[in-house]
Symmetry: C2
Subunit: 459 residues, 2 copies
């Protein structure tokens, strides 16, 4: 048996007891969110109708470096955490690479992904404030499942607006959310103003995350005891997800390892931001200089082809505006694209770090992603989520470059979840009927035209 | 945080390097398998056309107590093992029980169950012997998925005969087996003599494991470079699955714990036999006296309502005959029964131990099983396989009895896998359309009439 184990699980004593707030170490802060009504920066109080107070505070807090994880959250984390750090010996051997490949595997829970880390935190704080009812959206379905689990645990009512093409492609996602008593609604729906407006403009739309967000936010703000929660993009979500990176870094310390390259898939940025957090801290504070790589789908390329601009977080334009890499809130990704990672924008924190040169981004096409997913599954016994497979593709490509150059780099990537609810997509890949659609420059120009005009800020 | 961690993972150093062969400690051996052509006990050589040689040897070896796990198998085990021993703090709290509930969770791999433990072993030995092609059957689909994974890993061709009602109820099971390049055939099929015969007698049959076994065995024995493998019932499978119990017992030793009651679901006996193995050893050798409980579905009650008799392992009567608790090879379980555990017989080792009073058996109805499954999922964040939920039901019932009696018993049960491919059944449960069918005495009498007549042995 090799000296470094295949899987390393931290003990409960070794597990992080605090989240890490990346903003506390950023030399420059992301630009403030703007109130769409006034064009002025939003305050914590402005967010109270949308988010419960503690989460609104976390959203705005750019200075507290470490935040204690409440015992009530830790007790639930302990049921499925720590997640393992896995050395991909079999994959390394199959690729004949001198690189050392590690992955942090977040799929060992019924939500099937890392999303449960923030779902538990958000449901906990809502419960603490006496909120009885939450709304959210879900794209690929992992977030909705995670939140349904967390709400069942804490005894909260939940409405999930599920992007229509996902609702139709993945009927069992709805079924599993319903096991946890969630009320699942395909979006756009006729239950909200935002949904009715989008349907009137485009009756055949397959939906988008931006649209589902509009519906969920509208439903929350029109009821006193109801709040909205979001599974990605937000600062608070990156904070909660820092548990991934903190565990990964600690596990690598136990093994006396440090990554040369850290790779994560990027949709709204929840996994990437969490995985890289403590490594980015090292980079920002001059302690180390790893390469940090975001991998996005070529069909929804917000970092690699988007604009760094103020934009709405939703299609219905009911949310505050954030400055981020965006394709325009009007961008609707191709329904042929199988997985998640379909969001038009990107976490403002990650957008700022990318803009300032602290990380790289690359995009990959769908067929190559599934090719990597199947290759990985056969070697490492885990069938990955299509989202996670974007990171696998990039990690395999780095390992192959190491084979060619002879360099023994240490690669760490995030395996965010499992693909058990994505079998339709896997079957399409096997049948050769998968699309490698990439938006044209004209399509992107059209979507950019939906960016808001803000007098004095963005004309 | 509590002193006993929520999850205990053994380190690689602590992991078992040998399987344990329960037969070496049994005061009386199970009756020998009989050759159906001669009525005489089968020899190891008789099995060579069906199983590869090393597996035929393991099948017949009743004396070697510990068998080294080859390095080639350990290397693959290490990718997904050790599986965690989990303390169900949340479930205990919800049930308000003084009992301590532990479960050994085998669902953290893409096959979704413990089946991978034997699949890897069987594929490894086939590969070692130069076999290129394997055949098998699958009911609920976990075994087929596990073997597809193992065959992809070792580069073997695989045909899976999937019980027709499962093939139809679980289309994504087929899809995931195909990702691992397996050839999946609904059974009964027209590709074998056995399948054609069964279809001629009963064109509308929904299939059974016994029938799928006939087809897979026929396909294997009619080709030189092909062998048959089976995921349960056999002695060799219980041997490989002893890894579950050995890990569980070691983990409990680390925690300074020992179970008063050990509970496992029982279909063919692969999980139960593996989980209980080292605890049964303690019982057989007088070192301890835990209660050992097999839980079977009321719709397929081989231990609780079957006969201890010689029977075929398959419907087509092509396999050797084994003495076991059986409902008769002609028994076809109700298609309304959602999960696995649909096999007419039971492992001869477990049948003998049950017959000789070393373990108990109980049966549970389907609605109560799914009720327990959903309750468990909401508390422990894992959506269990319906098969596993049989053990959950019985463990919860024991814990509730402890609440009533005030006894702080230590309960260990096997959580064999996850229910992600069983969402149709979960939706039926939620819709209230689940059947609690139990076979009538007349139906069982009819099935018993299919038991073979063996001159001088069983008239």
């Amino acid at each position: 048996m090799p000296k470094i184990p295949h899987r390393l699980y931290l003990t409960e004593d070794q597990m992080p007891r605090q989240w890490y707030n990346l903003r506390a170490d950023m030399p420059e802060q992301p630009d403030p969110m703007l109130n769409p009504a006034t064009g002025k920066p939003v305050t914590e109080e402005d967010l109270y109708p949308i988010f419960c107070k503690e989460l609104a505070h976390q959203e705005m807090d750019a200075t507290t470096r470490y935040i204690d994880i409440p015992e009530g959250i830790l007790a639930e984390y302990m049921i499925y955490r720590p997640s393992p750090l896995i050395r991909a010996y079999n994959l390394e051997k199959a690729l004949d690479t001198p690189a050392k490949i590690y992955y942090k595997y977040e799929g060992n829970n019924t939500s099937g992904s890392h999303k449960l880390n923030s779902a538990i935190a958000q449901a906990y704080y809502a419960k603490q404030q006496g909120i009885h009812h939450l709304t959210t959206e879900t794209g690929a379905g992992q977030w909705g499942t995670a939140l349904a689990e967390a709400c069942a645990y804490f005894g909260l009512q939940l409405d999930v607006f599920q992007v229509k093409c996902s609702y139709e492609q993945k009927p069992f996602r709805k079924a599993i959310m319903e096991v946890f008593d969630a009320n699942v609604i395909p979006s756009p729906s006729t239950t909200t103003e935002a949904g009715r407006k989008i349907l009137a403009e485009n009756p055949n739309t397959t939906g988008s995350l931006g649209c589902a967000i509009s519906e969920a936010v509208e439903k929350a703000v029109t009821s006193e005891s109801c709040r909205y929660v979001l599974g990605s993009v937000l600062n608070q979500v990156l904070l909660h997800q820092s548990i991934i990176g903190l565990e990964a870094k600690k596990a690598m310390e136990v093994l006396d390892e440090y990554p040369d390259i850290i790779i994560g898939c990027a949709g709204g940025g929840s996994n990437l931001g969490g995985l890289i957090a403590p490594f980015m801290q090292d980079k920002l504070t001059g302690k180390a200089d790893p390469r940090i790589v975001a991998v996005e789908p070529a069909s929804c390329p917000s970092l690699t082809r988007g604009r760094y601009a103020y934009d709405f977080c939703d299609t219905g334009k009911v949310t505050p505006m954030a400055r981020m890499y965006t394709l325009g809130a009007g961008f609707i990704p191709s329904a042929n694209h199988a997985g998640g990672l379909r969001y038009h924008g990107m976490s403002p924190i990650l957008s700022k770090l990318y803009h300032d040169g602290y990380m790289e981004a690359t995009s990959v096409k769908q067929t190559g992603v599934f090719e990597a997913a199947v290759y990985f599954a056969k070697k490492e016994t885990i069938l990955p989520a299509p989202e996670s497979a974007h990171a696998i593709r990039a990690a395999m490509d780095e390992a192959i470059r190491c084979r060619e150059s002879g360099e023994a780099k240490t690669i760490l990537f995030g395996l965010t979840g499992t693909g058990y609810f994505d079998m339709t997509a896997y079957s399409a890949y096997r049948a050769g009927s998968m699309s490698d659609y990439v938006p044209t420059d004209e399509e992107l120009a059209q979507a950019f035209s939906t960016l808001p005009k803000i007098p004095g800020v963005q004309e």
